[in-house]
Structure formats: structure tokens, C-alpha cells
């Protein structure tokens, strides 16, 4: 059992207090809104995709600290990356959060592995995944994402609200 308090102390509170890339992006050409109807969290992600590279990315919205920290670290991680590399991170992060990724095998998550403990807080998995969900929607120009939609581009198999 992980200690939720230490998870908060290590990383979440820092990004919650000082979220990176927070706000709107003026020259955005891709945008999506993520929504978790179970807790009312809303996340707005805009990004500027040039030659299949994420030139700029920003997020804003109302959410819990886990969601905000996940969004903050995500934007820092994917800025400057290609669409393909971002998609790999999206899949790896989702698999890690739902306990399907063996972190002993090669992966690209780096510091994002601080979220690996979230799999032991099943009611909070969706909080961590929502930003990644929304990023996937933005990259594919799906204008709105939800953790509950049946036809969602990423179908969640674990976690509940």
C-alpha cells in the first residue's frame, strides 16, 4: 500500500501550487476539453502542432490536485515532442496508472513514474488520466473528451469515480 500523503508531498503539491504551462495558448491549432462527470473536473488543453511536433501546449481548468499535477507534468513532458512520441507517452501513462505497465521493462515515462502509485488508489486513477485523455483528443482534434463516454478514443478499463 502506498502512502498517499508521500505521493502528495513528493510531487503533486509542487505542481498543484505552481502548475507549469498553465493558461491559454494564443496560437493554438488543436484544442480539447476533458471532463470527468463523476467529480465535475474540467480540463481545457490547447496546443500548437507544427510539422507533427508539439510546439506549444497549455492547460487550464478546475480539478483536484492529482489531475492538475498530472496535467502540469504532462505538458512539460510532451512539449517539443512529435505527435507519435506523445501518443506513446499517453499509452504508457495510461497503462502505468491502471497497473498494466511493467516499469522494469524499457519505457519513456521518466519522472512521470511518480504517478505509478496511483494504481493503488483506484478511485483516483481517472483524476491522473484525464489530462492524457484530453491530450489524445486534442491531438486527434476530437473537441471534447470524457472519462465516461462510450465512444471515447481511449477506453478506460480500470478505475471508477
Amino acid at each position: 500500500m502506498i502512502n498517499a500523503k508521500s505521493l502528495y508531498q513528493e510531487v503533486i503539491l509542487d505542481h498543484n501550487r505552481k502548475p507549469r504551462n498553465y493558461g491559454a495558448l494564443s496560437n493554438a491549432n488543436h484544442h480539447a476539453i476533458g471532463h470527468n462527470p463523476l467529480c465535475g473536473d474540467r480540463l481545457d488543453i490547447s496546443l500548437n502542432l507544427e510539422d507533427d511536433h508539439i510546439d506549444g501546449i497549455a492547460f487550464q481548468g478546475e480539478s483536484c490536485a492529482i489531475c492538475k499535477a498530472s496535467a502540469s507534468m504532462m505538458t512539460a513532458a510532451v512539449k517539443g515532442k512529435s505527435r507519435g512520441d506523445a501518443e506513446i507517452l499517453i499509452h504508457e501513462f495510461r497503462d502505468m496508472a491502471t497497473g498494466k505497465l511493467d516499469l522494469d521493462n524499457p519505457h519513456h515515462l521518466g519522472r512521470l513514474t511518480v504517478f505509478s502509485g496511483i494504481q493503488e488508489l483506484p478511485t483516483r486513477v481517472k483524476c491522473a488520466i484525464l489530462p492524457w485523455h484530453t491530450l489524445h483528443a486534442a491531438l486527434n482534434s476530437v473537441m471534447s473528451a470524457s472519462t465516461e463516454a462510450e465512444n471515447d478514443p481511449i477506453h478506460l478499463s480500470a478505475g471508477n469515480g
Binding site: Y8, C39, T123
Partner: protein, 419 residues
Amino acid sequence: MKSVDATLEHDVTFASEMEKVRADFPILKLKVNGKPLVYLDNAASTQMAQPVIDRLVYYQTSQHANVHRGVHYLSETATLEYEGARQKLQRFVNAREDREIIFTSGTTEAINLVMHGYGRKFIKADDEIILTTLEHHSNIVPWQMLAEETGAKIRVVPINDAGELLIDEYEKLFNHRTKFVGLIHVSNALGTINPVKQMIAFAHMHGVPVLVDGAQAAPHMKIDVQDLDCDFYVFSAHKLYGPTGVGMLYGKAKLLESMQPFKGGGEMIASVTFEKTTYNTIPHKFEAGTPPIAAAIGFGAAIDYLLSIGIDEIHTCEMELLHYATELINALPGVHVIGTAASKTSVLSFVVDGIHPHDIGTLLNQEGIAVRTGHHCAQPIMQRFKIPATSRASFAFYNNRSEVDAFIAGIHTVQKLFS
């Protein structure tokens, strides 16, 4: 001075009596994350006392068979005990007859039964259904489904900043098209106790029947359906120290008889041919299929247990905890209680500046403290207060002051962590 001493003595005796009651609940000895469990999610579901658990075990080990079917010993025994539970419920809510009590799977199914059985038969296009802002989704969505199907309209009673219904506005909503009122007795999200008797009397002046959702009322106060004169009253066993999977619908016999069945199947019929089926009498008309027999008997045992503690004693104990907790939480800077009605049950809904309720819930859980976080299946209330969610502590008679202290200390710890 003598009278003060006597009061103090009474308080001490009362507190130690309630502490003994606590020993009846085996789950309260549990440790969560290495800390003693502090269970403050009683408005979502209550814990079960050993005598009720024992009753379920006894039924399952010595009395189980299907009801109303066989002529053998066990079937007769199970039927007697199942119908005995119905009579306990009848006495508990003071219904005129036991056939006015229908076993359902819970409050939600009871409301759906009334929507299908009464609503679909008697409510037509442009008719109006009055609901309140305080309703749980279970008393909103079925009526919206009916409105969509029939073209009926939903009118909503607003609330003030304390979370109390605006009775003047309620009365203004009535007109010749008003055909039904759905009314929550006690708000699950805020704890507000609504003046249902007065509201029912007003609806009846307009000839309009009233369904009262008593899920959050029945565990805390004496329910007298004849005194209230409600047409339907519904609640669940698992919020009343009983098992999940069972609840009850009280309905006035005349209304129940006029209604169409909700579910078709065995038990609810008098005779079946492929040409025509005649329905059974109430309550069986509404109890198609094998009912939750064990759970219904456990429901009866839970009521026996509750009455052995005493509704007045429960009320005294819970009010004491609510006032103690409210005073302490109000002293914490940055914490705001949502729902400050003059008349409340032991529900404390709150928000903390800069900290999302889900983070509070996760971190309190780390201390072994169970609270509910979210919209409490009452999103219209959240919209009214312009908040996405709250944290909610709800106290039962088996909670005590030291648990309230742990809860307050827990919030303080979370605030320090986020500061």
C-alpha cells in the same frame, strides 16, 4: 446547582450507554491504513450491528426457502418471517395495513415503481410534476424519463443560501395542471429537514398526491405516514443499519390498487393464460419474482435493533455530535459549511479553500477516516452553490466525540500539507 449536577450525571451515563452500543458494531474495530477506522459516511450507508448479522446467519442456516410457494416447513417458515418483516415495517412507519408496504430493492426502485405504476397511468402531456432542488438524482431522473415519454413538465422548488426550501415559491408552483409532487424528506447532501407535513397538506388542497423520499429521514426520526398523510413514502434498509438490496415503498392502499404493476412475473399474478393474466392483490402485485427474502428479514431485524436503542436517544446523540463537529469545523479558517439549515440531521457538508474535496477524501482516508466526497448524486444542489463537489461527514449514533476530534485534526493536517 443540584439540577446542573443531575444533568451532567445524565450526560455521562448517556455517553457511556452509547459507548456500549458501539461495541455492537464489529466493523468499528477495523484498522484502515494502520489507524482505527473513523466511519463518517453513514449517509451513504450505515454499518450493521451484531444482532442483525446474527439474524441473517440464523435465517440462512435454519429458515431459508422460497416464500409463498411451497407447503413444506421451510417455505412456511420463510414466508412467516418475510411477512413478519413487512409487519415490522408497517408498525415502524405507522401504516394502516401491512399490505400498504411493498418490498423493493431500495429507495431508487421504489421511486421507479411509483413512476411506472402511477406516473405512466395518470400523468399526461402538459401535466406538471413538482420536485425540489434538494432531490437526490433518484427522485429526479425517473420523473424526467416520464416527462420525456409523456410530454409532462417538471417544475422545481428553489432553495435559499442555507439550503432550505422556499415554501412560498413551492406554493406558487401549483396550478390546475399540477399532478404530482416528489419531495425529499431530508437532503442527503446538506442534511436539511424539509417541512414535509405542511407541504403535503398544501398539495392535498390542490388534490395532488405526494411521494416522500425518506432515505435520509427514517434512520434519524420517527416516521408516521398517517400523521404526515403522504401518499407514498420510500426508504432503504442499508441506510438504516440493515442489509443492502432491500427497501420499502409505503403507499395508500387505494392508490396502490389503482396503479399498474411495475414488473411482470411470478408472485404478482392471480392467474395466467396466454389469453389473459389477472394480477394479484397488493402488496404481491408489486413483488414479481423471488424477493430479497434474507435482506427483508434483516431489514426487520435492523428496525428491532434501532427501536431497542430508541429513536429519541439516537436523535439526542447525533445532534450532540453534529453541534460539536459544527462548532469545531467553523473554527477552522478557510473551511465553509454548505447547508446551514435551522433544522438539520447529522450531516456536515463542507468545502475547503484551495483544496479539492477528492484530495481531502484521499488524505483523510490515509488517517483511517471515511468521508464522502463528490456531488452526492445531487448535482442541482452543487450548481445552486456554484461548487463542483463537497466533502461530507455524516454521523451515526455509534460515532463519538473522539472520532469527531480525529476528523477535525485530519482536515487540519490536510490544510497544513497544502499550505
